[in-house]
């Protein structure tokens, strides 16, 4: 099924992307081609197959647990804000929401 320009615009909205003219035009056919390619998976009957959630080995799954809930050092406010594009008074400042 071809993916139209309006589908692309809808997906771009969901992905918080503002695509340029050129990308709006090329992404439709390119993504259609890739989606058509991946549809070959429908050749396989997977009705009774469990999905492989995560990439874990059995050993990894067994030890996949959170660390102990103990107080540990953290970056601190100054360091955490050091790379922010627009920090203000100990906060991340953003443009107006409304």
């Amino acid at each position: 099924m071809p993916i139209s320009q309006s589908d692309i615009e809808k997906v771009a909205q969901l992905a918080h992307l503002e695509l340029g003219e050129q990308e709006l035009k090329t992404f439709g056919p390119q993504i259609t081609e890739i989606v058509n390619y991946v549809e070959q998976l429908n050749e396989l009957d997977t009705a009774n197959v469990e999905p492989a959630i995560g990439g874990l080995t059995p050993e990894g799954a067994k030890t996949n647990s959170s660390r102990e809930d103990e107080i540990a050092g953290s970056l601190g406010q100054k360091v955490a804000l050091a790379e922010a594009p627009d920090p203000a008074s100990g906060h991340f400042r953003v443009p107006k929401v409304l």
Partner: protein, 464 residues
């Protein structure tokens, strides 16, 4: 001693960068200071004084971590990745950050916002990707070892195209804390080197449980160098005949089949194996990897770090403009594809279906490894291709990963080993895949080949 070694590496990196574009940052001052400290403190760690290069998506405190992207172009992480902490403690010295495809998305390094890496064997050709800078830095003799990340082949494929070793360990073998996430159920940090022994030494240092990454498994880390005996008598090597057919370059085919003969002569047993669902791996991979990427890359929104677009007075507009201006075309294409396959009404048809086929691929391996200790395949279907050749055809580019993606989907380790040059003097590599936690076996089998047929050729663009 370590000062001289580091001085050599840094000088070579600087001198060759105009030609190769392998490094995005070279830390001459910091590296030499560290070298002096190591000499003064008599650090006798297993990697004391060894210069290393690190892909620019792995955090090294004080250095940049651009991920090959404009959106993190000026980002300097405030902490070290766990693997960097471990390497530094062992005495290794980071000399710089290497170029890569943007957010590790690509097989040619042409998706870097800072220009492609050039292959030291032929500078009109790609280095492979996404860890092309690290592969090139090792191939050109700038550093003996380098780190990369491998989500679908991003260590093994450039290793093959540049004529060096490239290891992707078992999922959970080493920590991803401080690796910028692309597809979390596939990503592993990998190692480049010119000698099997160096891969073994570095893996021994970085592997093991890390409380900061819960996917690291509590599995003992052996002395990987101890397995390098040169003896493969009785080892069972699986040969998946059907993967040596359509789409495989003839010279690559012959070269890898010759490797099989060498193993046979060394006393290994060659057994036929089948991976019946391997042909579906690319389709599965490009659903799972893009879905996970669309989620992981949502964090780049111009609020907490990195680039923020100007002239966007409203929040949502700022997000969109920042991401439009900050990301390159391939990253946007994959975010779009990932968002599409996860969007309402499509989740079951694409993502769930892909995870089911992933189970089938995993089961193929579990079954195959009942009759063999390792499986041999080519690493890449062709030697290095020309820069620009596949750049307008995303699907053709994705098919480069046909031999490598299965290991990431199943979580098994894979190692690419150089095995000769094509008629155009371009490196060819073969791949060994093994059961979970069999890195010691893969290194042993690779080492036996290395002893028998050492790859001693060096590229025309080289440090020495």
């Amino acid at each position: 001693m370590s000062r001289q070694t580091v001085e050599f590496s840094v000088t070579a990196a600087e001198r060759l960068n105009e030609t190769l574009n392998a490094f995005l940052q070279i830390d001459r001052e910091g590296a030499l200071r560290r070298a002096d400290e190591i000499e003064q403190n008599r650090n006798h760690g297993p990697l004391a004084g060894i210069p290393i290069a690190v892909k620019d998506n792995i955090c090294v405190k004080g250095l940049q971590a651009s991920c090959g992207s404009k959106i993190l172009g000026d980002y300097h992480p405030p902490y070290n990745a766990t693997v960097i902490d471990r390497l530094t403690k062992a005495g290794a010295i980071v000399i710089g950050k290497t170029n890569c495809d943007e957010f590790a998305m690509g097989s040619s390094n042409e998706n870097s916002a800072f220009g492609p890496v050039r292959n030291p064997w032929d500078t009109t050709r790609v280095s492979g990707g996404s860890s092309g800078g690290s592969a090139t830095a090792v191939a050109a003799g700038i550093v003996p070892v380098a780190l990369g990340s491998d989500t679908g082949g991003s260590v093994r494929q450039p290793a093959s195209l540049c004529g060096v070793l490239g290891l992707k360990p078992t999922y959970g073998r080493n920590s991803r804390y401080g690796l910028v996430a692309f597809a979390s159920s596939l990503d592993q940090i990998g190692i480049f080197a010119r000698k099997v022994e160096d891969v073994a030494r570095v893996l021994g240092v970085i592997a093991g449980r890390d409380p900061q990454d819960t996917t690291t498994a509590d599995v003992p880390v052996p002395d990987y160098t101890a397995s390098l005996t040169g003896d493969v008598k009785g080892a069972r090597i699986g040969f998946p005949r059907t993967l040596f057919g359509k789409g495989l370059n003839n010279e690559v085919k012959t070269s890898v089949e010759n490797v099989v003969d060498v193993y046979r002569e060394l006393g290994a047993e060659i057994v036929d194996v089948e991976l019946p669902n391997a042909g579906y791996a690319i389709a599965v991979y490009y659903i799972i990897a893009t879905a996970e990427a669309s989620s992981n890359l949502a964090r780049f929104d111009g609020v907490r770090y990195g680039f923020r677009a100007e002239d966007a007075p409203e929040l949502r507009q700022m997000y969109r403009k920042t991401r439009e201006e900050g990301f390159g075309p391939e990253v946007k294409r994959r975010i779009m594809l990932g968002t599409y396959v996860l969007s309402a009404g499509y989740y079951d048809a694409y993502y769930r279906k892909a995870q089911q086929v992933r189970t089938l691929i995993k089961n193929d391996f579990l079954k195959a490894f009942k009759s063999c200790d390792a499986i041999i395949t080519p690493t890449s279907p062709t030697p290095a291709f020309a820069i620009g050749e596949k750049v307008d055809d995303p699907l053709a580019m994705y098919l480069n990963d046909i031999y490598t993606v299965t290991a990431n989907l199943a979580g098994v380790p894979g190692l690419s080993v150089p095995c000769g040059l094509s008629s155009e003097r371009l490196p060819i590599g073969f791949q060994l895949l093994g059961p979970y936690w069999s890195e010691d076996q893969l290194l042993k089998i690779a080492h036996a080949y290395e002893q028998e047929r050492p790859f001693t050729e060096r590229p025309p663009i080289s440090a020495s």
